[in-house]
Symmetry: C2
Subunit: 136 residues, 2 copies
DNA sequence: ATCCTACGTTAGACAGAGTTCAGGTCAAGA
DNA sequence: TCTTGACCTGAACTCTGTCTAACGTAGGAT
């Protein structure tokens, strides 16, 4: 996540304390924070950061391809810095916890041509649902 | 969808004009309407129907297992009367059109035990994304 | 057929998530 | 250091969905 600063600068983006702090928060494995969680953690490092800036920066990171947006349910979207390797998600139906998973097989290949209705299919998302150990 | 009226009655539910109209709107194949779309169409048949009743009735139909809630993106949930046969969805990234698809294989079997992190996995959703013929 | 009443409906207030905007701030090149 | 346009802020606003109190009515009881 630290060379993100370089990538952003390479695209002519100003490196502000706000953007640095958001990038800092989105660091680690199995990180799937909501925008408000990102804002709360960023505000511990930079108290005056605004909600709007967090939303703007997250949206920019998504456009850059550095962060993936995960729409789990009727709840808030989660922002996932693990954009390196493609993966799918396992979501707890009770508490909303999200884990990265790597299923076998290629779901795209499982969709036969006659089931594509003339669409140009380019991506597939798989969401597994169940109860996590704490909630079971 | 017409014997839905009977199933509801069998559960001791009152059959009101509002519920009949919502059931009427949710009729056909590849129907994936948002709650507000259901409300708009229901209101053409029964102008005084309220938004709250549409939400209530849709929630009841989901609890009954007669309708499936589909969260396509960060937008409004869609309500799908095709609850008979399990299926997945193909969504146009441009216009949002949703089609029912039936991929081969069992995605649940593709998630090995060591990728389940102790979860009790009970369901899986697959969403294919791409451009529909009109948008391509 | 009429009455009763618990269940259903309504309008509007409310809440959470996210967007927009006018005005103030500041990163970084000259 | 100066300049400037990109960036940030707070507040208002939209969108989706829930809740509530008062009103209406489906359908069994009489
Ligand atoms: Mn992830
Ligand atoms: Mn469907
Ligand atoms: Zn859980
Ligand atoms: Zn389309």
């Amino acid at each position: 996540m630290s060379d993100l600063v370089e990538r952003l600068r390479g695209r002519g983006w100003r490196m502000t304390s706000q953007r640095r702090v958001v990038a800092e928060v989105l660091n680690g494995d199995h990180v799937h924070l909501t925008a408000d969680e990102v804002h709360a953690r960023a505000a511990r490092l930079l108290p005056e950061i605004s909600r709007a800036t967090v939303y703007n920066t997250l949206g920019e990171l998504v456009s850059l391809g550095e962060v993936i947006e995960v729409a789990t349910d009727g709840r808030a979207k989660r922002y996932d810095p693990n954009a390196h390797r493609p993966h799918q998600h396992l979501v707890c139906s009770a508490c909303g916890t999200v884990r990265d998973v790597h299923p076998a097989g290629d779901p795209l290949a499982d969709l036969p041509p006659e089931e594509r209705f003339g669409f140009t299919v380019s991506a597939v998302e798989v969401t597994y649902r169940g109860l996590c150990p704490s909630c079971a």
